[in-house]
């Protein structure tokens, strides 16, 4: 454990912009990919008219 406090943790030794900028954009990219994929699956299901047993998208 390296961090004295939550503030220390978020400050990242003065590199907060670079470190959190990396982690935030990575999280954003993954969230966007999953969201787009889910939409694609839903659109397909609507088009194919399968409402009953929906395949996991």
């Amino acid at each position: 454990m390296n961090w004295g406090s939550a503030r220390d943790f978020f400050a990242m030794g003065g590199y907060a912009l670079y470190v959190w900028g990396s982690y935030a954009v990575a999280a954003l990219c993954i969230a966007a990919e999953l969201w787009l994929l889910r939409n694609r699956g839903r659109t397909l299901q609507r088009r194919l008219g399968r409402n009953s047993k929906s395949p996991r998208s």
């Binding site: 470190v19 990396s22 990919e33 194919l48």
Partner: protein, 244 residues
């Protein structure tokens, strides 16, 4: 055994298999990602040279590895598709490309944010960075070429050819730090010598890489299912089996 595996070369057989496996790979990715982040952001000590800026490594290296690895896998499926004319291979290549492009973008993005505090610049046109940027263009080119051709079978073949030609770029990226003078450091981890980092850092990095790998498998399985549905919606087996 081989005969059994062959069965899954058909979209019809692979569709339910991919659907059954994807949640497990998502779960593995989530668990490994949580452990990796815990090690990387919490347990791993501050680097004595780079301070905490080095913590970008836990994203940067896995993203860069996946960007190259996924391209090779994608090109492999393109090669299989071209030589054996298997539909599922082309679909798999299409399913891998967006995720590969995302990891390439992340490798560039995190690299840029790492370069600024350590090198003093967001970007340089050196061998490693430029060849990685070319990789991003190859992924985008692969997807756009495919999207530009209406006939899916022709699109598959044209895009596959592009992917196979582009695979030459991967060893160039990997060895660029040896072949040319570059700002980018050499490999921190190799199979032939001890890593040049603390054990906790290496552990965090490898676990994050594993998480990225599991994530890539999970996402491409879900995406290949969507592609199978899109392409084979009119096939009999689709109408018969209430998609599992």
């Amino acid at each position: 055994m081989v005969g059994k595996l062959w069965k899954y070369a058909s979209p019809q057989a692979f569709y339910p298999l991919a659907g059954a496996l994807a949640p497990w790979f998502f779960a593995a990715a989530a668990v490994l990602g949580a452990i990796g982040l815990y090690i990387g952001l919490w347990l791993a000590p501050t680097d004595f040279q780079q301070g905490d800026a080095y913590r970008i490594i836990f994203l940067h290296v896995p993203a860069a590895w996946m960007s190259m690895f996924l391209y090779v896998v994608m090109a492999f499926w393109c090669g299989v598709g071209l030589s054996m004319n298997t539909r599922l291979s082309f679909m798999m290549a299409q399913a891998l490309a967006p995720t590969g492009a995302m990891f390439t973008f992340l490798a560039l993005w995190t690299g840029s944010l790492w370069g600024k505090p350590t090198w003093g610049t967001w970007w340089v046109w050196d061998a490693r960075l430029t060849s990685e940027l070319i990789l991003l263009f190859l992924y985008i080119g692969f997807l756009s070429l495919h999207a530009a051709i209406d006939d899916v079978r022709r699109a598959d073949r044209a895009a596959a050819l592009l992917a196979l030609i582009g695979v030459i770029n991967v060893p160039i990226i990997y060895f660029s730090v040896k072949w040319w003078n570059t700002l980018h450091q050499g490999a921190s981890v190799s199979l032939t010598r001890a890593p040049s980092m603390a054990a906790t850092m290496v552990a965090g990095m490898l676990i994050m890489a594993l998480a990225a790998w599991m994530y890539a498998i999970a996402v491409s399985f879900v995406r290949v299912r969507a592609i199978i549905l899109e392409r084979e919606a009119e096939a009999d087996w689709m109408r018969d089996t209430e998609a599992a």
